[in-house]
Subunit: 110 residues, 2 copies
């Protein structure tokens, strides 16, 4: 059974790990609306340009975004848009968590 864990799940985990960072999630969402160059994303997020560049390279390496050089800038865009659908489910988890927290609070107030 052990053998079933490795190759497939490792490949998937790599992609999911690429999404698992606040700034990278922000980038994914921003690119879903429209393409952006590094400078724009840097401005939006407010971190060092080199930091954003590295985040983009993580996303690109995972196959989540593509880049295209145009005039003086490099424009990034989302490669596989279905990623966005996932966010709805994440929100479900968050709201379920919030509901549970509320329940615990209510029970202790009694």
């Amino acid at each position: 059974m052990k053998s079933m864990v490795k190759p497939q799940h490792e490949a998937r985990a790599k992609i999911i790990k690429a999404m698992a960072h606040p700034s990278r999630l922000f980038i994914i969402e921003a690119l879903n609306k429209k393409e952006h160059c590094v400078g724009e994303l840097t401005e939006m997020i407010g971190a060092d340009a080199s930091t954003i560049s590295k985040h983009l390279s993580v996303l690109k390496n995972a196959g989540l975004v593509i880049d295209e050089k145009r005039s003086n800038s490099i424009y990034y865009s989302l490669r596989v848009p279905c990623i966005i659908d996932f966010f709805a489910c994440i929100e479900d988890v968050l709201s379920a968590n919030a509901k549970d927290s509320a329940k615990i609070l209510k029970c202790c107030k009694k």
Copy 2:
């Protein structure tokens, strides 16, 4: 703009990060089929029981699974099943990646 990155995306990232590990993906998939206790998952994955226990606590902490004590064991099950839908999208990414690799190979063979 900087302010938009933090609270919402951090909460989401936390949940996604909880999924971003091969063994934890395996666990999520297994629990989607049916609930399992720690011992069963340990057996399936072939790691130390304490390691699996910690993985489960990561998943539980993120709100992805719930546990229920029954007789001598603790049974875990999936809390928000929509998680599974996401895997299809991950596969899309993987197959797009594979296609690209193939394209590169083909072009170099010429």
